[in-house]
Symmetry: C2
Subunit: 158 residues, 2 copies
Amino acid sequence: MTADSRLLADDLLRFIRDRIPLARAMDLRLHGYGPDGLVLAAPLAPNVNDKGCAFGGSLASLMTLAGWALVELELERRGEDCDVFVGDSHVRYLEPVWEDFHAAARLAEGADFATFFDTLAERGKARIDVRCEVPGRGGRPAATLEARFVAKRRAGAQ
Amino acid sequence: MTADSRLLADDLLRFIRDRIPLARAMDLRLHGYGPDGLVLAAPLAPNVNDKGCAFGGSLASLMTLAGWALVELELERRGEDCDVFVGDSHVRYLEPVWEDFHAAARLAEGADFATFFDTLAERGKARIDVRCEVPGRGGRPAATLEARFVAKRRAGAQ
């Protein structure tokens, strides 16, 4: 991943925090962006629940934003101007999270950006499946998300 | 629904806002609680996304909390002292939400509290399926959630 990609990711995170008040309330941060995917992080304190572990809504929000950002950044890197929406999503809460956490997003098995960009070029609209994971203890995930994202070229875009 | 139930619901909402910072950031409120289920509301402003409509994470969080509160309140009404966790959940984002919104939670088709309390009495642990909906325009839902909640009696509870 180039320095340019990291700059794009930093810019996108700034944009997310500026424009989505809940992302700011969660104190969302960029943890990493590379060929293996995108990782967002959040501290426990603003994301805690009544039991002292991470609130399910915060885990779901962090994973959804990580997936959304993964797709958005790939579009930006290719110069595409699209709106990206989350469609269906399936969250599994597997074990409680008692500390600061992060969510790693990558394409789902069988999904690839080549097909996605071919469809987008043909129809101005395309969908892609993403998988995110919040790592837990002992190498097992504490929470997972499988979600479909839809990108639509903006009116006036190429 | 009795005045007592409404008081329990008001107390639970106060507890949620006190103990879950993200619920406070969302400005979550109780909209109604009755035999048909429980309804939570949230204003658009703190829950907006970069496109000016409701952030998916806010919709998912509101629906998850409405489902959680529905189960928690029924337990409290019966004098049960349990921890309630969300397990699997499936969210469908069907159309954007451009104004203040609410989420209505009720038991899923085929789920009933009688079976749930029988299992809890027998095993100290039980699960129940809930369905939530954020109403959209023209009578169709803007977002839905199907989720499984697990209740476990607290150590020391009856």
